[in-house]
């Protein structure tokens, strides 16, 4: 009965970090939503994969870094982290370049997951 109101909410990270704020404010939104015990997932597509790239050091641009905060998602029970394989490939990146444990999926698998959602928010 309790699960009746649990919604499937997917956050789609589409922007690179630092150049715009979408990725950072997207993460802030995910962290708040995590407290509401909904069925959350986070998908990294396109430039969104850069948000969780290792070795980001923002000291030189004077903007607070936040890549490591993605590592905290696990502690908030946000465990469904997916990355689009094509997006990694065309950027010359592999799973080892990423800061957090993610599941790398094909486009069709991510597309199928999208179609199960009640709410999808792009960041």
């Amino acid at each position: 009965m309790e699960n009746e109101h649990v919604k499937k909410i997917m956050h789609v990270m589409r922007h690179a970090p630092h150049g715009t704020i979408y990725s950072y404010e997207g993460l802030e939104m995910i962290l708040i939503m995590a407290a509401y015990e909904q069925d959350l997932s986070v998908v990294f597509i396109g430039d969104g994969v850069y948000a969780i790239k290792k070795n980001q050091d923002t000291a030189g641009i004077g903007i607070k870094g936040f890549a490591k905060t993605f590592m905290a998602l696990d502690g908030y029970d946000v465990e469904k982290l997916y990355v689009d394989r094509v997006s990694l490939d065309e950027r010359g990146l592999s799973e080892e370049d990423l800061l957090v444990d993610v599941e790398v999926l094909d486009s069709s698998e991510i597309g199928a997951l999208m179609n199960e959602q009640d709410v999808i928010i792009h960041h």
Binding site: I45, M114, N115, I120
Partner: protein, 97 residues
């Protein structure tokens, strides 16, 4: 799942990206600068044509008119804001910003 695309396919990757995740049968609605995709005879016409084989494709008429986009790729349907609401009533929504 209704997919909306609001950016020009020429200047943003939203169009190319959305296409990859689209499931057969999902309606696609072009709005705002996204509507430039559906003008026939441009660089994206064949991609829109391909999309039409498996998905219903709509474009928001007020946005087409505002941009003087006419001569749409065959099979693209135009709707107004009321039609947009009807699509949202029938489907959950995935807005590819």
């Amino acid at each position: 799942m209704l997919h909306t695309i609001n950016k020009s396919p020429f200047s943003s990757d939203s169009f190319d990206t959305c296409i990859r995740f689209l499931q057969p049968g999902d309606p696609v609605l072009f709005i705002e600068d996204g509507v430039y995709a559906v003008q026939s005879g441009n660089r994206f016409s064949s991609a829109v044509g391909g999309m039409l084989h498996s998905n219903p494709v709509y474009a928001l008429k007020p946005d087409l008119d505002a941009r003087g986009v006419s001569g749409l790729t065959d099979g693209v349907e135009t709707i107004d804001y009321d039609g947009f609401v009807d699509l949202v009533e029938a489907h959950q929504v995935n807005s590819w910003l």
